[in-house]
């Protein structure tokens, strides 16, 4: 017995991105959801499945007026939304619900209606990391990179090229936060945040949101937009403590979630027209390319520096400008999937020619988790 296919039939971001001081975090979820409703012609009454992270699915469902028969509150960082897609796929295939709404909203910059995070002193992080002075992602997510540089000969210039290339993509995107071209020198001359990371190698901090609506393939003809089929998915988690990752040069969660999603989809590397790799910091696309198997680990930095992922390159990657130049609210995974869906629909600002297959790899925490979704223009 073959399971039914599932597709994204609605996809939208918040009306604005960047600085949105006039909206609470919960309203950012709703603004994106309402835009996704408009994209499909549905209303809250048509939705029977809700998944979200950052806020609770209870809060989002009640605020929007949804009466769900299926919820998923998996919250493992910025890739939670990829994992929601994976869980929604299973739920839709098995008839647990018919129409799933996945929302993200985050007042990352303005902090309106946003809860504070903080580790308890009795947690393992509180006992074995916090005393040593890490101050959030710029000093934690970045910790493995000097080891990668030594093991694989990656240079500071190659790391900087990740930011340079993504700015080239952002220049084509009117909604990108930063669009002016930058050079390797600009990156290396920008303020040092945490050696070896300069300001321009760290993601933005912005406000925004996004929402996806998924249903089974038999219904795609009922919707005005081209469907983006879910061809394959993967998920995994490794450790909440970056100091305890098994290999400082590889994400175990990437290497499980990514290849699993591609295998499920039945696609090989040569089939992939478009790639998104969650880029909270400049090293993430390098780790992602290697963990997905697009190149050898020692070649990944050069692969980007030589222009293979840039406009005109053979593997267009992070074509919205990424977390480094487009936007990054804190849990960026939703925006990476929005770009994959735009590319599959053929409506992206920097549209890839004849985009049939898009792979979207997300990270959660500091290499703590991963979710991956392979989108397709045609069903499997």
């Amino acid at each position: 017995m073959s399971l039914p296919q599932v597709a994204v039939v609605g996809a939208a971001e918040t009306t604005e991105l960047g600085r949105i001081p006039g909206m609470s975090q919960l309203q950012l979820h709703a603004d994106a959801a309402l835009n996704a409703f408009a994209d499909t012609g549905l209303t809250a009454k048509d939705i029977d499945g809700v998944a979200t992270a950052g806020e609770s699915p209870t809060g989002v469902a009640h605020y929007l007026g949804i009466t769900p028969s299926w919820v998923d509150g998996t919250s493992v960082g910025g890739c939670s939304f990829m994992i929601h897609v994976r869980h929604a796929l299973a739920a839709l295939q098995t008839g647990q619900c018919t129409t799933v709404l996945i929302t993200h909203g985050e007042s990352g910059r303005s902090g309106v209606g946003r809860g504070r995070r903080g580790g308890a002193a009795a947690s393992l992080q509180g006992q074995f990391e916090a005393p040593y002075g890490p101050m959030g992602p710029p000093t934690s997510f970045t910790l493995p990179v000097l080891r990668f540089m030594k093991e694989y000969g990656m240079t500071h210039e190659q790391l900087a090229m990740v930011s340079v290339v993504q700015r080239q993509w952002a220049a084509q995107n009117p909604r990108a936060s930063f669009r002016d071209p930058i050079s390797v020198e600009d990156v290396l001359n920008s303020r040092m945040i945490a050696y070896p990371f300069h300001l321009l190698e760290c993601c933005l901090v912005t406000d925004g949101g996004g929402a996806l609506i998924l249903t089974t393939a038999d219904r795609v003809k009922d919707f005005p937009q081209k469907p983006a089929y879910i061809l394959g998915t993967g998920e995994s988690v490794e450790t909440p403590m970056v100091s305890q990752m098994e290999d400082l040069c590889s994400s175990r969660a990437f290497s499980i979630a990514g290849p699993r999603a591609m295998a499920d989809a039945g696609v090989s590397h040569g089939d992939v027209d478009h790639l998104m790799i969650y880029d909270a910091f400049a090293h993430l696309p390098i780790y992602g390319l290697a963990d997905l198997g697009f190149c050898e680990r020692g070649d990944a930095a050069a692969f980007i520096a030589e222009g293979n992922t840039a406009p005109g390159g053979k593997l267009p990657t992070n074509t919205n400008g990424g977390g480094l130049s487009y936007m990054h609210s804190g849990m960026y995974g939703m925006y990476a999937m929005q770009e994959s869906v735009r590319q599959i629909r053929g409506i992206a600002p920097a549209q890839v020619d004849d985009c049939e297959v898009s792979v979207c790899l997300g990270v959660g925490g500091m290499f703590a988790a991963s979710g991956c979704v392979v989108f397709g223009r045609e069903p499997r």
Binding site: L124, G133, A194
Partner: protein, 136 residues
């Protein structure tokens, strides 16, 4: 302001008792010999509950680090947040003391040895300094 002070739990109490006595304590599985950190009363490799606390050598090497340039109330000026690969296998986060906090002074794979900083009556924090010689 001082560093964030750890709050021990029943599972980690032996570790912090050790640091108060100037010992870095790890755990070894009685069944599969796996040595691990952070502390827990079972083996994360084979799930055995039969594990033994032992005192580690305190020696390790610098695995990776960043030098934080943003001000932190517990630190003066830029400081390295380091990952130390212990001789017995596990890795831990720490700071490198008695050493310039520069890329020139902080060389990956340099030999390190543990030292302890007293934060409170209960907590002595393990830190690392360049090894005094002979075991690099």
């Amino acid at each position: 302001m001082s560093r964030p002070i750890p709050a021990p739990t029943p599972e980690t109490a032996h570790f912090w008792e050790g640091t108060r006595q100037g010992e870095l304590r790890l755990q070894r599985c009685d069944d599969c010999s796996h040595v691990y950190f952070p502390p827990r009363p079972f083996c994360p490799s084979c799930s055995s509950r039969s594990v033994t606390v032992f005192t580690a050598s305190g020696r390790g090497v610098l695995a990776s680090y960043v030098i934080n340039e943003r001000p932190h109330p517990a630190f003066e000026g830029p400081y390295a947040i380091a990952l130390v690969d212990l001789e017995e296998g596990p890795r831990m986060m720490s700071n490198i003391v008695e050493c310039d906090q520069t890329p020139q002074a902080l060389q990956l794979d340099m030999a390190l040895e543990v030292t302890f900083e007293t934060l409170s009556d209960e907590i002595a924090l393990p830190l690392f300094r360049p090894a005094s010689g002979g075991d690099s």
